[in-house]
Symmetry: C2
Subunit: 228 residues, 2 copies
């Protein structure tokens, strides 16, 4: 089992059968010792953070399987904090796809001339490039196509999948009295056909959720979602 990539919050190993093993670490992104899922650097280590993230990811990926929504997920071993996944090719050097149900974060910072903070948005989808140096810039459908990152058809597939997956997550959260404000996903192409599937993880750090008007930070969100 070869370590092929060391990420900020996960290590990736190549398995002999061609699949990959993701090892969820207790490192979380943040700044100045404060957990911030939007940060681009590892900020601190929290014991149990890796396993909690994996447990929530497993919950969502298995729900998506029931809904017939394709992901790279094969199975997970919570004790070892590992997840087995199919090999996938990312788009370009990686993109993040965001689905917004309320205007907060970078959307509000950009478009505050036209929206109130927290205003409902109708499953609005936008894409940013994974590029720490350039602060993950937003990018249009036309630019993704022109730069060879995502074709126009692939864009539509990604948008549709994103809205479906965000709906599944929103429903699961609402069962615990939580409201999903926004969520980010990663996608990739698998197999010879290049089928587009959800990759990476769906843990607390991927989303902003509120309960009774109060922001629920990622680790508390995971705890609320995972308790019986």
């Amino acid at each position: 089992m070869d370590l092929v990539y060391t990420g900020k919050t996960k290590d990736v190993y190549a398995l002999e059968d061609g699949n990959y093993l993701l090892k969820f670490k207790d490192d979380v992104t943040g700044e100045d010792g404060v957990f911030d899922p939007g940060a681009n650097e590892v900020g601190l280590t929290i014991e149990g953070a890796g396993k909690a993230g994996l447990r929530l990811t497993k919950l969502f990926f298995e729900r998506l399987k029931e809904e017939g929504i394709p992901t790279h997920y094969i199975d997970a071993d919570i004790e070892k904090a590992t997840m087995t996944v199919m090999p996938a090719e990312v788009f370009g050097e990686g993109i993040e796809v965001i689905c917004r149900h309320r205007a907060v974060g970078s959307f509000y910072r950009r478009y505050g001339m036209y929206v109130e903070e927290g205003q409902p948005l109708d499953s609005f989808v936008e894409i940013t490039l994974k590029d720490d140096e350039r602060k993950d810039p937003p990018i249009t459908k036309d630019a993704l196509d022109m730069l060879g990152i995502l074709t126009a058809d692939e864009y539509e597939t990604v948008k549709e999948l994103t809205q479906k997956i965000a709906d599944v997550v929103k429903d699961e959260l609402s069962k615990k009295g939580l409201e999903l404000y926004d969520i980010k996903f990663e996608f990739g192409r698998v197999g010879d056909s290049g089928e587009i599937v959800l990759i990476d993880e769906i843990s607390g750090g991927n989303m902003r959720a509120f309960k009774d008007g109060e922001y629920i930070e990622p680790l508390r969100l995971e705890k609320l979602m995972l308790e019986e």
Copy 2:
């Protein structure tokens, strides 16, 4: 004749017949006393800048008329530095539409992971909001539609007009040995039908042009374009 708006580089007067008169000023945008067409503040005053900008605008708007491309232009009086235009309704609080033939400026700053500086782009169109406070953020077709700024159909019309107009400007520049790298336009709706037309101006400050690999600053560009 009532002054209805004082802009950074133009004043706007309402005429009795319902049209508007744009008075081109010698104020140009910039920072620290240096002319910068991309800046959001008036930086300095250059004698003759208003008239030169108007002369070039007149040249392009009359060329566009020959091509059957709709604009708000009626006529111009160079001596008085004024242009008469039809009333137009801007989109939202105003948008800027950029057409790029080479990857420079903010496009290169955002997407430098995928392009070389100066790399040719195929009449790539993108839109930014006019919002000094938020530094004119880029915005997607979907977001423009959702925020009620531009419908999906209007977006396609604006994109098509932008590419046609940029081609006309590119051809005119090439007659003087100049290469157009990028250019920004403003559009609005006129009349009861809400027909989409080019508004504002097309002067040196709207574009980046190069000659033999050297950047030609706006006032020199205007001089080169206007000399017999």
